[in-house]
Amino acid sequence: MSFKKVKAVKADKGFKIWDLLVYAIVALIAVAIFLAVFLTRDSSPLEGVRVYSRGELVFEYVFAKDEYKILGDGAEIAVEDGDGVLTVRVTTEDGYNELCVDKSGGVKVVSADCKNKDCVYIPEIRDNGGIIFCSPHGLRVVPFDFDPDDGIIIV
């Protein structure tokens, strides 16, 4: 850039009217999206959670029925049913994630042997708007709507 051009830029205004307009539009879009995300976030109580390992459904728990199912062979599932708490250990050849299911309506990853342990720091899911994901282990913990119409009761 020539010295003359630099001087011309320095002499120019900081923002032109079109710059300000683009900033304003982007800011409005960002605010609108922010509001859309938070206002439409599903904050209804957690009815059930499903655990997927590498895309395969391996475990589900229904809070209202205090009922769990171990599904598929995609992971080794160890469940310890305690007083008010269900401890679920999901083990694959990639490693393990240990989930704590609070029977009053919450689920959290409490320990894992993945590298960054990001999943352990994800806040507890307590409504249908949350999700927990462990990228290194391909683990997903997602809320689901319990289906009272399936006609199956586990005792």
């Binding site: 999206i33 029925k65 171990i70 599904l71 005792v155």
Partner: protein, 383 residues
Amino acid sequence: MKKFAPILLSTLFAVPLAGCTQKPAAPDTSPFFFAMVADAAYVLPSTVKESQESDCYALYGETRGLLNELDRSLSSTVSGSCISRFNGAAAGEKVELDEHAYQVFSLAMELYEITDGYYNPAVYYNVQAYGFGGATEMPKTEDDLPSDEVIAEYNVLSASFAQVELSEEGGRYYAVKPDTTVEIDGAVYSMKIDLGGLGKGYAVEKADGLMDKHNIKNGYFTFGESSIALKRFHDGDGNYTLGLSSPRYTAGKSQYAHTYVSDSRLSTSGDNVQYYEIGGVRYSHVIDPTTGKPVQTGVMSATVIGASAARNDAYTTAIMAMGKERAIEFINEYLSAERVFFTYDNGTGYEIITNAAENEYEVKDERFKVVSKVVDGKIVLEN
């Protein structure tokens, strides 16, 4: 333009997120929390909730009131409940009960007799000593387990259950605590009871009655998963598929059998629900009243489907304590009108013993073998 890139990228990712979390629906079930044991809920099909909305709300409201009332009566952990006052009373003291507590207490005494003491709600201290029933600590090593001497003392108290005297005087109800006491480490103990299991069944029957009152013919009421009152399923032949949980689960095998039921009340017990293992021995919350220790009879779980959830609760506990042969005799003598399943670990494999007809169930786990057949309505073991 580079200045806008992060904002635009976040915009692109945020738009789909905003759309996929929409869900306006109200909860499908109505969980109730009950200090006595666990949580309870109605599970009603969408058709009922839509067509009988006002009935459902009335049902939920009345059930909440009922469960609070039962909590105040039957819970051994709620201060001031009838059972708490009975437990806190001195040996030989007379305690006033409300009608719920009197009815459940009377039923407990009847079931104690019928089961020859294999159902005994007075194993309170034994349950606590093994770390269950709200005990603060669960044993972790053999040293933490209660000694045989202490258990023998507790057994003296539980054996005095038959000496409880119940009476009704002018519309008021009373229970007199047995005189029996024991002394352990300088402290004097008198008998205590826990009617939680029977109370759950009793609550289930009351909830079933409320469903009748509000003309709800489809759906079910479940109490902590182990006591359930079923109406008819709203589709097909009206039967629910009841998945009997495997007491020794392995990946992909959460149920050992399916059976098909409607318009029933059922209870189930298992040594896989609350337990721990020390030195390869499983210690579950189900206490054998004859030993005062967690059941070691080989019976792993029991399910009884029939008219009374409260009675069925006591029967499942008793079957686990009786052991295989005694349980079969008992079922043949007293439970021919009920559908009973129990599982047994014979040391080399898992057995299913049932009085259900072959077309009433389906085995879902090949590790479990049916070893009984039904002849003239009685269980006969196959050779």
